[in-house]
Point group: C2
Chain length 76, copies 2
Amino acid sequence: MAKAIFYHAGCSVCVSAEQDILNLIPENQVEVIHLGEDKAKVKEAEAAGVQSVPALVLSNGNVLHINFGASIEDLK
Amino acid sequence: MAKAIFYHAGCSVCVSAEQDILNLIPENQVEVIHLGEDKAKVKEAEAAGVQSVPALVLSNGNVLHINFGASIEDLK
């Protein structure tokens, strides 16, 4: 099975949430791409339908855009 | 470890995406609650910080709101 691809841009508030979802998904089923560090992948992400990050592109082509409602604790 | 909780409301366009994410997360780590069928849980979801569905409430209290950009195929 093709891997899912998790695109993000290193958003500091979201890092813990991203880690959480990556803890839930077995490591061999997901590839992580940091668009801030790997700008060549931005076009690839756009072509896949990514409109915001973080986003999870599934192996069947579906795109899940994830919005993390930051907790107050994270903002202190 | 406490399970994550996946809240949704049976949105027909989103069902395939929901299935996809549930396929990625091992079944014993996630509980699925259909708010359309189990309205008593709506207050519980609100208290957890859920503002839209589908959403994934993680065991550490973080809430991931998921927006599925529906593919054209799903709308045909």
